[in-house]
């Protein structure tokens, strides 16, 4: 750490790079490939951030279709198999007067994954095509998506509890369906997509004249 960073200037302007593992910074030179503090790989921006995000987003978009079309659980009752998709499960919750629970499940398993994919596609497109859209608002959307994303695992936990409770040789048992695996892929892919996206790219993509304007304001 020979050079001390000054507040109010980006790392790029100061010729510094921040380590993503330990959060310390060092000079950005071509011969510095490892962080001097923790010895992990260091780079100015996450490598191939946009490509990785796109690949994971496309995976999520493909798998969200089977996740919603095919049954996520099968209920075996008196030797009859009753399949349940995500949506039909929510409808049956509403029918049995549990609107609150239905709302939680709806938000966690339908609203959040779709919202997350749409928001990430929008932000990555905005970065890639250099759209004129408030950088701070983009980051706000991103951090909301990042924070809310983990809650879509909820449905998988519920399935695991239901399977365990009902799968012990009684007349009633529950099995996970094809959609459960697809839904898992969607959740994991979106989590990794948000993780591989480098938020600093939002500011890099802003037109230079906007960039200098915001710097004057600060």
């Amino acid at each position: 750490m020979s050079k001390l960073a000054v507040a109010g200037k980006s790392g790029k302007q100061q010729g510094l790079q921040v380590c993503s593992i330990c959060g310390n910074y060092c000079e950005n030179k071509t011969d510095i490939k490892h962080c001097p503090t923790c010895n992990n790989d260091i780079s100015e921006r996450k490598n191939n951030s946009l490509q990785k995000t796109w690949a994971l987003l496309i995976t999520a978009i493909i798998f969200i279709i089977p996740a919603n079309v095919y049954p996520i659980t099968f209920l075996l009752k008196n030797n009859n198999l009753y399949p349940d998709t995500i949506m039909s499960g929510i409808i049956s919750l509403v029918d049995s007067d549990m609107q609150g629970i239905a709302l939680i499940v709806f938000i966690a398993s339908i609203a959040v994954p779709i919202l997350k994919i749409v928001a990430l596609v929008f932000i990555t497109l905005a970065v890639q095509l250099g759209w004129r859209f408030s950088a701070r608002r983009q980051l706000l959307i991103f951090s909301f998506v990042d924070w809310v994303g983990r809650w879509s695992i909820l449905d998988l936990f519920v399935i695991s509890i239901m399977v365990a409770v009902f799968d012990k040789g009684s007349l009633l048992s529950v099995y996970p369906g094809v959609a459960a695996t697809s839904f898992t892929v969607v959740v994991i892919a979106t989590l990794f997509a948000a993780n591989s996206f480098d938020t600093r790219l939002i500011w890099d993509a802003q037109r230079p004249e906007i960039n200098t304007k915001t710097q004057d304001k600060l």
Partner: protein, 187 residues
């Protein structure tokens, strides 16, 4: 935006001037205190995962369910689902507490262990995958769903699980990866 860490009092946070995200948090981050919390959490982990969380009475049969059974049961039908549930509800929270415990022991004893950087790195990754609070909400959803079918009783594991969740949240909110790196450097 890159900036040197300013001197701050405990409980204050430094925010990025461009995006207003917290970039540095000066929390109560005392290795020996965290170690005590981690050991408590590790002890509570055993009953929380092994004792029954809920039990139901159905057609004269009582069935009990614990956290690990739930994940293991699906392993041949849907291995991926089972793996993710195990990872987020069992493996990640336990490993997270364990890795914070290991790094705290080493920092509390002023011992500069060579494996510490790896432990810090793993801890940072695991924080994202530890989802006990999501599991808690899922448990509530499952309980409400199951009340339609059968009589439901809350098992003893449930209380241990709540305790584990609270401990876990305390540990995560007080742990600061960056401060541990600083302490490691100054050893």
């Amino acid at each position: 935006m890159t900036s040197a860490i300013p001197t701050m009092d405990t409980g204050h946070v430094a925010k990025c001037i461009r995006c207003e995200q917290v970039i540095y948090k000066k929390s109560w981050c005392n290795p020996s205190g965290l170690l005590a919390l981690c050991i408590t959490a590790l002890i509570i982990t055993i009953p929380a995962f092994n004792l029954p969380l809920i039990s139901i009475h159905l057609l004269g049969i009582t069935e009990e369910t614990n956290l690990i059974q739930g994940a293991i049961m699906m392993i041949d039908v849907a291995p991926l689902v089972s793996f993710v549930v195990l990872l987020c509800a069992v493996i990640a929270p336990t490993l997270l507490v364990l890795s914070i415990a290991i790094s705290s022991v080493s920092l509390a004893l002023n011992h500069k262990a060579i494996f510490l950087p790896k432990v810090f790195k793993v801890t940072r990754l695991l924080i994202h995958w530890s989802m006990l609070e999501v599991y808690m909400v899922s448990l509530m959803v499952a309980i409400f769903k199951l009340m339609n079918y059968a009589d439901l009783y809350i098992g003893s594991g449930f209380y241990f699980f709540v305790a584990l969740l609270l401990l876990n949240l305390t540990i995560i909110s007080n742990y600061s990866n960056h401060q541990y790196w600083e302490k490691y450097q100054s050893l």
